[in-house]
């Protein structure tokens, strides 16, 4: 433990720690909605579309995360809108957004003169290079997500469970879904710095699935998922620091180990009960 605590003398490690906490909160909560409503594929689509925004950010010289945020929110709303209004099927529409965003990102990064040094960190994440500004943004988003879920927990739960029924009760289903998809987009973008575009879906699914082993209640899954995500990111951060391996991959490795341990614990529990 001591070398780990020692490491926090460095400000980059302090930022990394804060990033791990805030990302675990926002992904733990938002991921519970994603997993319960079975929109993992949409979330993957939004994540990859946001790469287009990163490319444009590089090319035009503004913060790539800002570009990613705009792309993520627009694609989240766009997928929702187009699959309702047009004849193209939902998952095909996601496929188009997914690949088009990646293509745009590649084109613009290619057109940018010089080498794009941080490109790899956007694709695979780099929790050790998270800036202080990034952590402030993550804090803001975590607070926003907590606030929305505290105030609107009932409509969120009911719409996620049975949208059609919610419509018969005159609940504003569409407005609520657009709001939640926008939050999904933002949570994804701010996690990109920590875990990368290619791996971000892990924080939205593995902790929730682990939590779901022990509880079948929406609210409890959210709490357990946040805790699991936190343990996983901190363990991953530590391993990444000690062994000098990419942080995104080591975080996912830790999360999967936690998932396997949870499965085994559950099996043993069942054995001893029967």
């Amino acid at each position: 433990m001591e070398p780990f605590l020692e490491a926090f003398q460095y400000s980059f490690m302090q930022n990394a720690l804060l990033a791990a906490i805030f990302t675990s909160i926002s992904c733990g909560i938002i991921g519970t909605y994603i997993v319960s409503k079975r929109i993992v594929f949409i979330s993957g689509g939004i994540t990859h579309t946001s790469f287009g925004g990163i490319g444009i950010g590089y090319y035009m010289g503004f913060n790539p995360l800002l570009g990613a945020a705009v792309f993520a929110v627009l694609s989240a709303i766009g997928i929702e809108y187009f699959s309702r209004k047009s004849e193209i099927r939902h998952d095909s529409m996601i496929g188009i957004f997914w690949s088009f965003g990646m293509a745009l990102g590649i084109i613009f990064i290619f057109l940018t003169p010089g080498y794009a040094p941080n490109l790899m960190s956007y694709l695979f994440g780099s929790i050790l290079t998270v800036s202080l500004t990034d952590t402030w943004l993550m804090l803001g988003l975590s607070l926003l997500i907590i606030l929305v879920f505290l105030l609107m927990f009932r409509p969120i739960l009911y719409i996620a469970y049975d949208e059609t029924y919610a419509r018969t009760r005159n609940i504003p289903v569409s407005a609520m879904k657009y709001l939640l998809m926008a939050l999904v987009g933002l949570a994804i973008v701010l996690s990109i710095r920590v875990i990368g575009i290619i791996l971000v879906i892990s924080l939205m699914t593995i902790p929730q699935t682990t939590a779901n082993i022990f509880t079948k209640k929406f609210k409890t899954i959210m709490v357990y998922a946040v805790i699991t995500a936190l343990i996983g990111t901190l363990a991953g951060l530590f391993v990444s620091y000690k062994m000098d391996i990419p942080s995104g991959a080591s975080i996912i490795f830790s999360l999967v180990i936690l998932f396997i341990i949870a499965k085994i614990v559950k099996l043993i529990q069942r054995r001893s009960l029967s």
Binding site: L151, R154, Y158, D162, Y165, A166, R169, I171, M176
Partner: protein, 248 residues
Amino acid sequence: MNETKLVDIEHVYAGYDNKIVLKDVNLSIYQKDFIGVIGPNGGGKTTLLKLILGLLKPSDGKIHRYTSVSSGIGYLPQYSEIDQKFPITVRNVVLSGAMTGKKLIFKHTRKQKQRADELLEQMGIAHLQNKPIGELSGGQLQRVFLCRALVSDPNLLILDEPNTFVDNAFEGELYEILRELNRSMAIVMVSHDVGMISPYVKTIACVNETLHYHPSNKITEQQLATYNCPIQLLAHGDVPHTVVKKHQ
């Protein structure tokens, strides 16, 4: 007729993506009605329910919901339309039926929670209230959905094949519950099994692209043939079957 009218459907056409499913449908629902909706699969039974619920807008014609149902209609959807692995408890499913209105910031009142507890007790599933829905049997789940449909104390209850995936014992019990509920609310129930429902419902609507309303629960095979309503008539030994002559 001096009964209170709840819903008026006048010359309604409806469908999806330019495909017309229902043509020139007329139906009035009154306070004391118990209408059995029968017809072949794909004939438009569920579409009719969606129109009454306001989930689907008619492409032509008019639907009028009177003020007594403007606060909401109780609805029990088809069993297969619900995600049975969703992490939600029985009590929360029932409470979800109490939510109403355009508010996004919403908390349940004590009265709503009391009503939910009463219904769970009445349906004999109070001991299951904290269980996730994934652990319930088909019959238990249908009871939960019935509680959800009733928690808002609606004047109109709409049921889409409530007898699927339930055991025979509960099916009979369900119809007795509905008969009791019919004292205080109108009921519209879709069923694929006309033989089973006909002793319980008061009138029958046969839906197959068009709607034919029979102002009694006595329906014969010839009538069904006349109205182009190819329905399977099942004979059950212990269910009273009434066969009357074809009327003009």
